[in-house]
Amino acid sequence: MGYTIYDKLWNEHLIRSYDDGDSLIYIDRHFLHEVTSPQAFEGLKKKSLKPWRINANIATPDHNVPTTRDNEFSIENIEDNISKLQVVELDKNCNDFGIKQFNINSNNQGIVHVIGPELGLTLPGMSIVCGDSHTSTHGAFGCLAMGIGTSEVEHVLATQSLKVRKLKNMRINFEGSIQEGVSSKDIILYLIRTIGTAGGTGYAVEFAGSYIRNISMEARMTICNMSIEAGAKVGLVSVDDKTIEYVKKHSNLEANLINDAIKKWKNLITDKEAMFDKEIDIDVSKINPQVSWGTSPEMVIDFNEKIPPSSIFSAEKRKSLDLAKNYMGLSDNQELSDLDFDKVFIGSCTNSRIEDLREAAEVLKGQKVSENIQEAIVVPGSGMVKEQAEKEGIHKIFIDAGFQWRAPGCSMCLGMNPDQLSPYERCASTSNRNFEGRQGNLGRTHLMSPKMAALTAINGRIVKEI
């Protein structure tokens, strides 16, 4: 009998099982941000408790921070007083408890799921939690990583453990080579379109196959990041040489320690004989660039397809589809390429890493953003990504094309900071959720890859051909 990587990680972290089927697992790393932590810290204070292991916790403000800030910026400059209070509160809580924080002025501040791996704080084999559903991102490193609610944030702070039930095992085998112009974002959008937003609910999903083996760690992170959009709170990739190379480059661990660690990490793979509760094979060579048309990440079509008529779906589905079309201002059989776009956003924990920026910049080189686009912004995921991009001159390509080059944060992925859509504005976005109002009240989001977003910026519309 063999084990899946999820089984191995589970066994490795299992403190105890309860009679009722729940288990207590040990938490190695806890990431915190300003939105889902204040009530947890308050709860801790009320109970006169202290964090169990201070060094397990790493915090950074990302959701509320304005991306137009410069080096002189301080928390006091946040115009929205309520946003400011939340960032101040994180600062205060981290100081009170002695938690390591990359604050708004730190060069290492950024989206929590971007900074974790690049600062070497995400290591293979770790159990990682954060009060944020996109914590699944870290699964790309062979970690048991999942999003949790605020009560659980408090529980993890207080006990260094989490009470959970073991998930079922699913494996997605992505086989083949992708077509020109297709990226990891298209692959994960295609998967969500195929299995639906509840397709992975109750499962830990391992991404495998020749496609996964061949892609970079950044691309794997994009795929694991959006496993939650397929319903799976845990997304995983088995450890291989690429994982280890990345970690070696980004970690500050001493050489002998890392060599010991590597011996262990190499075992973080699914055994050949392991059994899955569900397995799906997908041929990636047939996948075209994907664009979402509706208000759920499963409402996705090929970039050159028409809006699907509701009549071809079951009566139960039809209602949601009609509501989505109404919200998005669309009608049956309309071409995606007929839609006029107002804004373009390149960023978010899904697509704000250096590889994403390079992908978009390559398209934008020598090109100009369409006059019809009111605002095109590019928001690097972290200080480190920003610095790297500036070193490579990528920022110049964006700026010359007419993009605004911003400071790190969650930005327009969600309407918590000044980067938002106005009602009815249509946005080409590299983020992860096209829910109603996600990017601003009544805003219309179309999810796509950095390359497609860049092409949309130039043309003002979705292109018909690539």
Binding site: L85, Q86, S151, E152, T201, P423, R433
Partner: protein, 209 residues
Amino acid sequence: MKDFIEGIVAPIDRDNIDTDQIIPTEYLKSIKKFGYEDYLFDGWRYKDQGRLGMKKVERKINQEFILNNSPYDESKVLLTRDNFGCGSSREHAVWALRDFGIEVVIASSFGDIFYNNCFKNGVLPLKLKKTEIEELFSLSKDNPVTISVNIKDKVILFKDKLSIYFDLDDNLAERIIYGLDEIDITLKDSALIKEFEEDRKESNPWIFE
């Protein structure tokens, strides 16, 4: 102790209702654990854009939305379809339901993180079969109906006309009934956690650097 809930059913005939719909990001700026009742389903409940701190009376009400109409404004049971609470991990979604007065959410499936969050806040998420959901929709779609949910016996009752038995693990039922503090319970295992931690430090020292 809460082992019996009786209330009006508010049917919302939609699947994939995500936590951004249950409470939009604007209201996640609050640092409090209570006071979210006026922001539940904000995008559907109002015709204007709200801000944290605004009260219901200051808003343009969408009279077509079910929870704005009597007697549904006092509903304790929300009836919906597939994949309720998918999306973001925000516990604020459960706080908003709780603060509004919703004690039971009935759906054919739930987002994993939302489902867990419910039990920490005394909101009961009930998974029923699609046929049972259909039955409840046809029962409640035209007229307000009051159903009772008996958590101990695990049954939903409507007069003598309908009874639906549901599956719910005993430990989850107990969390709703007794509202136990999980941190206190876990801390009883402090010694075990400490022991585990020491072993892990030994075998995986790089994690503790």
